[in-house]
Symmetry: C2
Subunit: 457 residues, 2 copies
């Protein structure tokens, strides 16, 4: 079996994706405002040979009808949530090979500023940066915070395509490969004939200017995306090199992954040009009993109120205000929709009850699959899940910090490596090589960004 | 004499403010794309007891009529220029006391995103962050790059006042001082009664939401500004805690500083509530002769073409296209205007010739004062300059890296300390305390941001 891509999902806050784990006596994640908390984690991931740290972001926060939800504040769920962008360089400075995927939003950040920020980071990380492209997470609260109107879902993706064009044009089209000269004796820093003004006039964004940095190791950061809607999938097919999908029933995940690969093919790319990574939480311990005890401990820190707050923030639906014994079949946001699809009655299945949705959400959180057991049992489950779904790897959700990671690295990884399910060494030094093998430093020829490159014959 | 505030001016590029120093055999600044270059410098500044590192930024680049200027690219002047924002955490992780002032633009960054980014950095730096507020440096090229129209100068400042309001509201008004509880046993992360939605509806910006982070050490970062126009000075009076002014003739600088203090008083603040720092380049060596030899070496790396490129980028005026023997009296941008004012005929003086302006700019660069001599001679010049101008300190311009800093720290600082012109120890741990003394962690009561604080009796 091909070794899996294994990354760690984190956001700049005190909790993981299930429950309110900061309150556990051994948990350190309420120290998330301290750099030392993050540098220690990054070193641990780097030493363990994990592929990357994925820094999620939401510009918004859980709220309903313009009001905060008490459970969200009380349990630290969705509130607080810091900005991951300023964190990366401190982590890059203390790691050697670990990649960093940072989330920014195409409806918040100015596109050319985004391009220069990521180019700066690609330099500072020596080519270990990726960009998780979101079009508007926690849409309504983020829009109100930014003083903007919420943009309709499909239009957001139309704009995001244009936004990515601005970025690709700047990253690929401004400096030729040999524009940087750095000849001290001749006094020539760069060759003026090889640095180009780029001009983009799209339906939503325009730019006239340069990327004001010489080519960074990867030029374009690894492009990552997570949209699960039809329009989101089309966007992924055109742009993404890695896609993060929620977990859930293997058949649902398999269909989702197939759809993403088809969208790549529809955009003229190979089916393998996108690595699909599934959100999953691994709860393991030396024995099965201990693992299930940890699972029970996790659920004891996961309240219906906290789950409902996160659910409400993502969907606009307050499950606690509904009759628990009635079904629910609609929600107002894409993320809500894709989450609901995990539970909703499709293909003739009956729509689930509110109480079941809430309980499922309380147990598995926003991203889905929870694997529990001894290291061998979890490895068995992973192997089966990958065979059933065709996943390329996992985006591993945190629970206890650093407990979840100690168990992952100390117990599970050795078993996965024995079975050939995890890498035993590094390939190349950039994040793109990490996922696609040595030598694959830049966008491949079948990616539309390739055509933006300046000075190519 | 009161010890001076001493900060280092840097931008993310290969040169200082005069000439093209990267080409010097001993200069390392072309390594500016490497984190290790910056962490070494930051450690040097921190160990030396300097107050802060000021990271300048320009979202634009030198250009004329939409075309790059060859000399700018060839000499690495203004091009390249990376984003300072992602650099800070790596420097904070390796330093103890050094402050960091980061530039962002009110016409580029979304205000609520800016607020969260700086709040995140105030946490990560343990209260050592400052915000240099610019309204649109390199205006025309930055606007074209961002796909926006260039906004008229005074309107930019009107908008900036509103923009700062959004930031102050979020920093000061969202979380009460004791909102963060972190009681593991009770399972209470924060008190919902003490986290507040803020609502701002200004003439240009609006926000409804929260700052999604518990209070950071300073809450509001140290507010820094550099505008020298009448409207810029009014903005400084209302908002700034430190103002950076260009150097030049002592009488001009003195008048400028007096004007800034008057603007603070006009805004209901004390004249001392703003620290005024003057841009200056110190070229020193064990003997006067060696210092002047360094100065000559610097000028040999400063070409008229390179100076004209930077000048053109800032003013829209191509000095090389004009008759060198005729006077010049107007320019198209604020920065151009404030630079020109250093040379222009005022108070009955004749307007200077193009050749004199260019030569002066080639020798002193954009920020003005160059002090040359043995450590004692430079200390004498500094002492006299401070007495003549009332400056609170200097923003020290780089020339050779690390040479300028080795000389500053090894030769000049000990003399300044002997004379009581430089601090011998630290006060407090935050950047605001660094400038205003121990205990002055938050905005003072006479700053308009004080009134935004939530939960104050």
């Amino acid at each position: 079996m091909t070794p899996l891509v294994l990354g760690i999902f984190q956001y700049i806050g005190p909790n993981g994706t299930v429950g309110s784990a900061w309150q556990h006596p051994d948990d350190t994640s309420a120290d998330f405002t301290k750099l030392s908390h993050w540098t220690a984690l990054a070193k641990q991931f780097d030493d363990a040979g994990l592929d990357f740290l994925f820094l999620a972001d939401s510009y918004g926060f859980p709220a309903l009808d313009g009001e905060l939800l008490d459970a969200s504040v009380r349990e630290g769920r969705g509130i607080p949530h810091g900005d991951p962008m300023p964190l990366v360089s401190a982590l890059a400075a203390v790691t050697e090979k670990l990649g960093f995927i940072v989330t920014t939003s195409t409806t918040v950040e100015p596109p050319a500023a985004n391009a220069r920020r990521f180019a700066t980071l690609d330099h500072f990380t020596d080519g270990r940066i990726g960009w998780n492209i979101v079009t508007g997470s926690s849409g309504a609260t983020a829009a109100a915070l930014m003083g903007k109107e919420l943009i309709a879902h499909d239009l957001r993706y139309d704009m995001a395509d244009d936004y990515v064009d601005v970025n690709l044009t700047l990253w690929e089209g401004s400096w030729e490969d040999d524009a940087l000269v750095r000849d001290k004796a001749a006094g020539v820093y760069a060759d003026p004939a090889k640095v180009h003004m780029v001009h983009h006039e799209g339906p939503y964004f325009r730019t006239d200017g340069i990327l004001n940095l010489p080519p960074s190791p990867q030029r374009t950061p690894l492009l990552v995306q997570a949209g699960a809607s039809g329009r989101g999938r089309q966007f992924a097919g055109r742009n993404a090199e890695a896609v993060f999908v929620g977990g859930g029933e293997p058949e649902t995940v398999a269909a989702n992954i197939t759809g993403i690969r088809e969208s790549a093919v529809a955009a003229g790319r190979s089916a393998e040009s996108i690595k699909v990574l599934v959100g999953a939480l691994f709860i393991t311990a030396p024995t099965s009993e201990e693992a299930w005890a940890k699972h029970a401990e996790m659920l004891a820190m996961s309240t219906p109120e906290g789950a409902a707050a996160i659910y409400a923030g993502n969907t606009g639906v307050d499950l606690l205000a509904l009759d628990p014994d009635k079904p629910i079949a609609q929600t107002s946001t894409e993320m809500g929709q894709s989450n609901l699809e995990r539970y909703l009655g499709k293909d003739g299945k009956p729509a689930p009850l509110v109480r079941d949705i809430l309980e499922n959400f309380r147990r598995t959180g926003i991203n889905g699959s929870v694997f529990v057991g001894s290291p061998d049992e979890v490895a068995d489950q992973i192997e089966q899940f990958v065979q059933q779904t065709g996943a390329d790897g996992f985006l591993i959700q945190p629970h206890l910090t650093p407990g979840t990671y100690d168990d992952l690295i100390g117990l599970l990884l050795p078993v996965l490596r024995e079975r050939g399910l995890a890498k035993t060494g590094h390939e190349g030094s950039t994040l793109r090589e990490r996922l696609f093998g040595e030598g694959n430093v830049h966008l491949p020829a079948d990616h539309r960004g390739y055509a933006f490159r300046a000075g190519r014959d």
